[in-house]
Each structure stands twice: as structure tokens, then as C-alpha cells.
Amino acid sequence: MKMEDMSLSGLDNTKLEALAQDIYSDLVEDACLGLCFEVHRAVKQGYFFLDDTDQESMKDFEIVDQPGVDIFGQVYNQWKNKECVCPNCNRSIAASRFAPHLEKCLGMGRNSSRIANRRIASSNNMNNKSESDQEDNDDVNDNDWSYGSEKKAKKRKSDKNPNSPRRSKSVKHKNGELSNSVNADPYKYNYNTGINYETLGPDELRSLLTTQCGVISEHTKKMCTRSQRCPQHTDEQRRAVRVFLLGPSASSLPDADTMVESDCYDASDGQVLMSRLQWDGSSDISPSDSASSKASTNNSDSKKPKKKKKMSLGLNSTGGGGGGSGSGGGSSSQSSLVGQSNRKKKPKLPVPPAPSIYDNLN
């Protein structure tokens, strides 16, 4: 059809209709052409067949609509045994009891301060932390564990016999014959968790010694796994060990200041910390009572806290100060330790001794 200038006025109906028909069919043809191009391109570029799905597994995903089962075809109420891992203390908790556990774990419950105070009181009497056991006792009573908790709890108790608080409590009561019996315990503690330096290569030793105390115990011949500021051993001892293991060039310990810098809290650190706490109560974090309270105020997010819980210095404080009562009992006793260790160390930091935090709380 030639493109001429035509006027429509002089045409009769049939011609008009024919014109309209022409225009319509041209439009349809153009639209079809467009679709053809789309398909052609999709095939040529290789993405046309992406839509195809895997037929058999599609059947697995069909919705079921029958009484007594949910849409997946599963019977109701079979999920009682689900468990999860607490991000704070790293323990396996029954899912349906996770909320109450977390509340205590973070130190937010009604009884948390009571439990924490109890722990401080008892650990103040002993030199060591065996708070993990105490914590378990409380938790067992609260049924935080899964349905098999009784069995588990009993098992744990028996496992812990060599290190159980009962033992050290009895030690504590006979206050006369101290240093031997009391000091015996840390070695007992470390018995299972110390590191045998003979089995490690030089690189491993080097990296280990950058983070741990490393002093070799006379009794067990194993390396202390506590932090570089562990109160049990002196810096001299630590330097000596490094010279012994790595040669005279490797005798430098990192500065106390750098230790402070590395104290920024992060969730993984907290967990590492907590796991350490349970065995050797590393007190990496001594400085930070003030740091922790600063950290917590920076991070406190609630605008109108319903309950004024002064204890909740913010989760960050667990890493920061151990003083933060953030996580249940473990940190509380640790902070008391921190208080003690602060006195032993050179007073570099303007830190109030830990017990004062609890004074505020009380």
C-alpha cells in the first residue's frame, strides 16, 4: 500500500471498513511480531527454558487440605522436641523453653538478680569459679532443658564430679588448710582442658601464645589456657614460657593497651568468652567496667523501658566487662574475679572494682 495523502471524506462505508480492517490487521501483525522477537531472543540467549521445573519434587510441595494435618500433611503437635542453641551461652535449649532461658541468660528475669547475687556470694568465698555448675543447678530446676533433661542433668553432675562445687565448697569450709587444697582446684580444673605443648608445632604454639597465658603447670605439664592476664601466673612466668617454647626472640608479650583495644564486644567473642568462662574463667576483660558501661549506654536502644532494670547494662557489656550482668551467673562471678584481679594488676585503668556495680544494682 502506497503512502499517499488520502482524505477520508470522499469514501463510502465499505472502503472505510476495508481501511479499518487493514489497520487492525497491521496492528495485530506487529504485535505478533513483537512476541516472536521476544521468544526468539529468549531462546537464542538461552533463558527460554529456565521456567521448566522439576516435576516430581513439585508434587511434594502441594498444599494438603485435610482435617488433622497441616498444609504440609504433617500431624499437629509433633514438634515438642525441637532444640536450638542459645546465642548467648551457646547451650542447647529446648525450643519451647527458649524464651524463659534467654531471659535468665541475659539477666532480665525476676529472679536473675537473686541468682546472680547468690553466685557472687558463693564465689567470693572460693578462689575459683565453678559457676557453671551452679548455673546448671538453677537451670535444671527451671526445666530449661529438653524433656530428657533429668537424664542429662544427672549425667552432667556425674561428669563434673572431679570439679564439682560441692567439692570445693567442702574445701572452702575447712578454711584452715588453704593454699594446698584451694590451689589444687585450678589445676584440677585445667586438668581436662590444659594443652599439651609437646604435641603442637611451632606455628601453633606461636599463635596459641598470642592469645593465651601458656604457662606450663608443674603438676600437669600442660599449658594454662587462660588469657594473657590470668591471675594465676605472672608476666615473668609467661615470658619464660615463651622463651622456652619459641626461642629467645619470641619473648614479647603484647601490651596491655592492645589488649584493651581488642575488647570490643562482638557476639562471637561473647560466646568464646562464655565457653572459656566455664572452664578457666579467663578474665580478658578486666578493664572494662567503665568501658562496658560506656558501651552499654551507647547501645541501649530502648526509649521507654518498661521495667527499670539497672542490671541490664546492655548485652555488649558481657564482652566488655564481664562486669555487665548481661549474661546470667557466669559473668557475675567472673566480674567478682575481675575485681580481685584488678587489685593484683597495676592500676592502669580507672576502673571501679566490680562489686561496686552490684552495689548500684542492689
Partner: protein
Amino acid sequence: MSPAGCSHVNAYKVDNWRQNLRVIYQCFVWSGSAEARRRKVLQNDVRWTALAKSCICHMCGAHLNRLHSCLSCVFFGCFTKKHIHEHAKNKRHNLAIDLLYGGIYCFVCQDYIYDKEMEQIAKEEQRKAWKLQGVGEKYSTWEPTKRELELLRHNPKRRKITTNCTIGLRGLINLGNTCFMNCIVQALTHTPLLRDFFLSDRHKCEMQSNSCLVCEMSQLFQEFYSGHRWPHIPFRLLHLVWTHARHLAGYEQQDAHEFLIAALDVLHRHCKGDTTRDDNGKKANNPNHCSCIIDQIFTGGLQSDVTCQVCHGVSTTIDPFWDISLDLPGSSTPFWPLSPGGDGSTVNGESHLSGATTLTDCLRRFTRPEHLGSSAKIKCGGCHSYQESTKQLTMKKLPIVACFHLKRFEHSAKLRRKITTYVSFPLELDMTPFIASSKESRMNGQYQQTVEVLNNDNKYSLFAVVNHQGTLESGHYTSFIRQHKDQWFKCDDAIITKASIKDVLDSEGYLLFYHKQFLEYE
């Protein structure tokens, strides 16, 4: 060279080929308008104008028949009659362009080819033309890149979400009185825009630690669309929420509405990394102009007009909101007498028994002009003195997702109780009567039934309902959510079952989530 291209284009890609190609696209394929086309043809290259007065086949004069333009010289030929083919053979010009859709044909390969660079030019010219035409940006579907194609080919097992598919639905374990959290999570994960945002991986986390709630939300979507059938345990989510919203922490029953607001607030704060840069390249970090996904979806503007009774001067403030809390009849606050809607008329499709309160009634009450008594005189800017006034609330900006909170828990000085009055709510809701511009017609408190609503902007569809059973002190939350347009599911913690629309509409209703039906580009 992409697999869809061909080697014969290399002969073409010499000298100033890009510019030449652009000219062809601009003049003959996609011009802004016919006017522009004519003008362009006349203004541009003189060489072109002489010959290219009109697009017709140089051999037969046809202007349809799939006209093609030779890329190497000024020649138009129709495809159907093979005139362009002849030209190609005679002149050895191997490439031609289809003037209707811009596809490039190679006569040696005897097929349309898709060369990456040429397609790039074509796309740019097309966008320019759309802009000139006033069409703006057009939606283009996703196309996989070469790498993505490879990955997809190596992983042929694929799940498609059909209408009868459980993917996207998942139960949530109750962690100990956390049913309120589970219901809100179900509502959020079934918010279409939010789902699209997270599934297309739009969150770029800038938080150092692992405690970003938005990342956890993203993870939650992955869990919901994983196809797993056992219920998910949202313990990390609980931990994060307790960390960031201290006032909610604690093992006790909480209010779902409060949780919703707290969750949105934390998400909003953690979204700072995603705020898009505006055209100046500056990051919009202003809290009043946040453009994070939460604000884009949930934030609306509530206009409060205070009119002085003496001088009739109006002072207006606009506050952002994430939800609308509505008083119910039966509460100790006076409920406005019902207007014509109470006689069983079907406003907004709420054709329930006459006398039952409808959501529209509650909204009408919310937006009515309220006379502030003589004890609450406002300082009027016009009169410069304290005068009595009326206050009226209207919606200045409607959010994409509107959440209505029916205030069923009464905590007044005299009593604390739960109001269980049934409120009927519709599947489709039109918010036009409640927006600020409709206010004038309601100044006197008369509600005018809008005869026709031509504007589709204010139409909403229900997609989630959160219900509470029990008393003020203790109860249980369940939710209904909508999936696949018209399928509803009841979510009772870990148990997901199919529900009928009737079940949903007959339920008591505590939190109602509505989604805008038509979304416009800004």
C-alpha cells in the same frame, strides 16, 4: 561476543559505527514523536535528509511489510518481499535493522543476532525516546547474565511457586509465650513488597556486628522459601529483638501491636545502609526523609488540622505513622453515632448484619472533626489568643501497607478489660473518604457517599489479620495470612492450615493489614 551474537558484525564495527547506529535508532526506530522524527530527519546529517524523507521501501515503495534499513548505507527495503535481501547480496552489506523493533538481522547467519554492544546502544536510545514521549521508565523483566545462566544450567532442579504450592509458608515454633511475635512475623513475611525486597537481596548490611535485624529478616525469608516443611525456630530473631528493643524483653506475654511497632522501628534503624542516594549523590540520612524499605512501605502521613472557632484559621501539622489505632464501641470513650452505614448498606463491601460496627465506621470516627472543649483551648495564630477549636485527623499520605489496630485492650483508670465487640472488616477497602483532600466535604460532619471512585489510588486489599483469643492477662495470638491472591491460611504457631475467606472475615480482628492494590512509580 555473546553466544547470541555473530562474527559478521566485526566488519561493521569500524570507524564511527556507534554514532551511526545511534542515528538510525533515533531517527527510524524509536523517535520521541512523529514531530521529533520529522524534525530530526531534517536537522541531522545532510546526507541522510536528502534520501530519508520517508521510510518506505526503496524498491517497491511499501512502508509496511517489515521494513528494514541497511546498516551500511541508506537503503530501506521490505523483508517480506525480500527487497532488503537483494540489496544485501548485491552490495555485500550483511547487516540490516528491523525498523519496528530494532532487531539486527545478519544475512550471512540468516537470523537475527543479539550483539551485546549494539543492544546496549539500542536500549539507551529506547530509554531516551520513552523519556521524550513522557512514558518514563518502563518495567523490564529480569534477564540472567552469562554467569547466572551457567549456574542455572548446572542446577536444573528448580521449584516454581504455583498456586497450589506450600513454598512461602512455614510454621513457627512458640519459644515460650512468643505467639505475638510469630503472628507479626507471619504478617511481615507475607507482605508482598517486603518479600520482593528481601528475596531480591536488596539489603546491603553496613553493621559491623552480627546483630542486624534486617539481616535476620532476610534470613527469615530464606527460611520461609526454602521448601522446608518442619517449623522454623525463630530464636535468633527473639534474641535480636530483645537486644535492640529492651522494653520488650522478658519472658511474658506481650502485645502484638507493640511488638509490630518495635520491630518496624528496629528494622528502620538498621536499614540505614540501604537508604538510596538521591540524585545529588548525597546519602539521605535525614531521619525525616528516610527512604529505607520500611519507610517506603509502612510510613504514612497523618494530617492534623486544628481550626479556630472564631477566626476559622486552620493550623496544620503532618505526623508520620506506621499504624492507625481505632477506638471501638463499647470502650469508655464515646463512640460517634453511626451514620447511614449502619443500616446494612454495602459501603466498602461490608454487607454484614445491620448494626454491626464496620471498619469504615471506626475510620469515620477517627477522621471526624472533634470539638476540643473549653478546657483545651488552643492558642490561635490568627486571633492571638486562646480560643476553642475543632481538631480533625485525615490521611495526608497513605502508606503502601496500612495497618489498623483495633483498640481492644482497655487500660483506663477505671478498668482494664478486653473489648470483644465484633467489628466487620472488608476484603477490599477504599480509603478515599478519609484522605485529606476529601476533608472539605466532611467539615460539617456529614458523610457524603462518594458516587463513583474513578481514582484507583486509594484501594486496598486485606492480606493479613492477627487475632487474639483470651483475656487481657493471658491469651493466644493467631493470624490469617493471604497467599496466591485468594488463598488464606491460618497460622497458629507451628500449625499452618488452609482457611476460608469466611473464616477470616468472621474472626474478631485485632490487627488488620491492608496492601495498596495499585502501585505507581514515583
